[in-house]
Every structure is written in structure tokens, then in C-alpha cells.
């Protein structure tokens, strides 16, 4: 199955990057779920939780204050202003 390539970046650093099966982000219209093969999308985010189900089966969750997400041919870029809390990130990337 195709995978999503996810980049989670904050203003001053790259927070997380890797392959994922599913991404869920709090868009202004409601939680948006992204699976492989999603149509190209640009959505504005509201404060909330971004959830990434990684290809290894773990979950990464980040509390964000706002930003946007762009999806283009399985390349997901989540750009956030600030990340207040992050769980599930592998220690190697810390």
C-alpha cells in the first residue's frame, strides 16, 4: 500500500518527518483525515491536535496552535506556528 510522506515543521525547526499511514489534522472546518491517495489539499488549521499514524504502527501526536497542511501526491506537509506538546516521537529524532 502506498504511504504518506509526512513533514511536520515548526517555525524554527523540523519536528518530525517520516512515512505514515494516516494523518489527521484539525482544519478550520473540522478534523480532516488524510489517507494515501488524497487529492491535493491546502487547509488552514485551528488550534488542536495533529495525529500521525506512522508506518511502524506508532502514533505521533502534537498540540498545535495553528498553521496549515498541504497534501500533494502523498506528500503531506504540516506547517505549524508552535508545537506545545509532542508525544510518540522516536528518541532518535529528538
Amino acid at each position: 500500500m502506498a504511504e504518506l510522506n509526512v513533514d511536520l515543521v515548526a517555525a524554527d525547526r523540523k519536528v518530525w518527518s517520516g512515512a505514515a499511514r494516516q494523518v489527521s489534522a484539525p482544519s478550520v472546518d473540522g478534523q480532516v483525515g488524510i489517507l494515501p491517495g488524497h487529492t491535493p489539499l491546502l487547509a488552514v488549521l485551528r488550534p488542536g491536535t495533529v495525529k500521525v499514524s506512522t508506518a511502524q504502527g506508532t502514533a505521533v501526536e502534537a498540540e498545535v496552535t495553528g498553521g496549515f497542511v498541504s497534501v500533494d501526491s502523498n506528500l503531506v506537509t504540516i506547517v505549524v506556528d508552535e508545537i506545545s506538546e509532542l508525544t510518540g516521537r522516536e528518541p532518535a529524532l529528538r
Binding site: V9, L42, G67, S73
Partner: protein
């Protein structure tokens, strides 16, 4: 008196030695911070790249007009943001950034525009305040270690000025003067026209046989642009500040290295002069004793 010049030389040697220590310390501090500053520039790059890609994506796929991308013709006022350092001791760093600003201001004035200056960094602030020029706004923020919240504040002030109506001090353009970090020995003052946004750098050319993706915008293209463009400006200004910080540190390291070398030269010179003076004193003393003894023997 002969003993006096020896003492003077010794004093000078001592004071130059302590100056040399300070120069050396500043050089080492700057050198150790450059690496960090450059790492931060690199760390901020993914964000900027992501935003740039998204902005160019929107620009390519929609014809939506946005205030930040359209020219203003209702006012002749333009804003110039100069990013300088908080401290000196960086050789020609501040001087060249101010010279570049003056050149830009002269050029804009010649085009019949009114320039409003925004100064970041104490050196630029004090330069213009001393000359009695009014600054629209000023910030001093540890210029060798800029934080993103200061960048946000600066960007928001400037965006506010750009979007404000004419009678509330709106400006038609925004130019940024900062020092570009080329490499450790070359830092170049650079002028960028930030607003209105026009050419988006690094627009990814669509692949040969790859159809342009049609983006879905959520909620609407206008709202997405509204969120994206200010962020884009913010991230650009932040990256200018990071670049300027790396340049400042590199300039400081070089200037302090030269200063240390000069101090060493001075110390060497003074040591020679002091030795000469001592030798002259001794010679004089001997000849005085000898001639005294001769005079006694003759009598």
C-alpha cells in the same frame, strides 16, 4: 627622564596585553556561536521551504487577488526595514549595512517616494537617532540570537503598516536591508523588496508528464491565502534575521581576529622600544660612572 620612558612602555605593553585578552575572548565567543547560528538557519529552512511551496502552489492554481500581492498606488510612502546588530566590535558590519540603507533611501527619495525607516538592532537605532531622523519603529533584540517571536512582532508591525489606510500611515512598499551570509569571509548587504509580494522564489516547475495538481482549498482560497501570506512574510523576515545574525558573528570573529593580531604587533613593538630604552639607560649610567671615576682620578 630616562627611567620615565621605560615605565611608559611597560604600561602600554600591559594595557595592550589586557586588550588582547578581550579581543581574543570576543573572537572565541563569536566563533563558537557561528556554528549555532548557522544550524538555526538550517533548522528554519524546512518551514520556509514548505511555506514557499504552498504559496507558489496557490499562486499557480488560483487567480485570487490578495491585498498583500497587489500594488498600492494611493500613497507614496514606503517602508524600509534595516536589520543591523546590537553591538559593534564587528568591523565594517554595521557601517556597510547603514551605507546600503542610505543608498536605498537616496534612490527611493529620487523616485519621489517618502521613506519611513524601521530599525532593528541598536546600532542602526542609535545611528539614526543621533542624526535626528525619526524612526517609525525600532527593536533591539539580541541580534546575534534572534527569536521567532521578535520576527513575528516585526513582521506584524510591517504587515500592519502595509495594510493600513493612507491616513493611518499606510505604506505602499516594504524593502528589507540585511546582510547575507555568503561564507565565513564574505557577508554582503542585500536589499529585498518584500511587499507587495510578487515573485515567489523556488516555484517548482511542473514535471514534464505530470499534470498540475488541482488543490482543494479549505475553507476557501481567500482564507488560505490570508493565512499563508502573512506567515510567508514572517518566515522570510525571520530567515533574514538569522542570516544577519550569522553574518554579524562572522564579521565579529574576523574583526576580533585582526584586532588580536594588531595587539600582538603593538606588544612586540613596545617590547622592543622598552628594551632599547633600558639599554640606553644602562649605557648612560655606565658612562656617567666612568666619567665620574675619571674625574676623581684626575683630581
Amino acid at each position: 627622564m630616562a627611567g620615565g620612558s621605560q615605565r611608559v612602555y611597560k604600561q602600554r605593553i600591559k594595557s595592550t596585553q589586557s586588550l588582547k585578552k578581550m579581543f581574543r575572548a570576543q573572537e572565541l565567543i563569536a566563533a563558537s556561536r557561528i556554528g549555532k547560528a548557522r544550524a538555526r538557519t538550517a533548522a528554519a529552512a524546512p518551514y520556509e521551504r514548505a511555506i514557499t511551496r504552498a504559496v507558489s502552489g496557490v499562486a499557480v492554481h488560483t487567480s485570487t487577488k490578495h491585498p498583500l500581492t497587489s500594488e498600492r498606488t494611493d500613497t507614496k510612502r514606503v517602508a524600509v526595514l534595516v536589520i543591523s546588530s546590537d553591538r559593534g566590535m564587528a568591523g565594517a558590519y554595521s557601517a556597510s549595512i547603514i551605507r546600503e540603507t542610505e543608498r536605498l533611501v537616496a534612490q527611493l527619495t529620487a523616485e519621489g517616494k517618502e521613506v519611513e525607516l524601521y530599525a532593528a538592532g541598536r546600532r542602526a537605532t542609535s545611528y539614526y537617532r543621533y542624526r535626528g531622523r525619526t524612526l517609525a519603529a525600532e527593536w533591539s533584540y539580541g541580534s546575534d540570537n534572534p527569536q521567532s517571536d521578535v520576527a513575528k512582532e516585526i513582521a506584524d508591525t510591517l504587515l500592519g503598516a502595509f495594510l493600513a489606510p493612507v491616513d493611518e500611515g499606510g505604506v505602499a512598499e516594504l524593502h528589507v536591508v540585511y546582510t547575507q551570509f555568503v561564507n565565513m569571509v564574505t557577508q554582503r548587504p542585500r536589499v529585498v523588496r518584500m511587499l507587495p509580494l510578487e515573485v515567489v522564489e523556488g516555484v517548482a516547475a511542473p514535471g514534464e508528464n505530470q499534470a498540475q495538481p488541482l488543490y482543494d482549498f479549505e475553507p476557501t482560497p481567500e482564507v488560505v491565502l490570508d493565512t499563508l501570506l502573512p506567515r510567508y512574510v514572517r518566515s522570510r523576515i525571520f530567515s533574514f534575521m538569522l542570516d544577519a545574525a550569522a553574518s554579524e558573528l562572522a564579521a565579529r570573529q574576523r574583526a576580533m581576529h585582526t584586532a588580536t593580531d594588531n595587539a600582538e604587533d603593538l606588544i612586540r613593538n613596545y617590547t622592543r622600544l622598552a628594551n632599547q630604552a633600558r639599554q640606553a639607560d644602562i649605557t648612560q649610567e655606565i658612562s656617567e660612572i666612568v666619567s665620574g671615576a675619571d674625574a676623581l682620578a684626575a683630581s
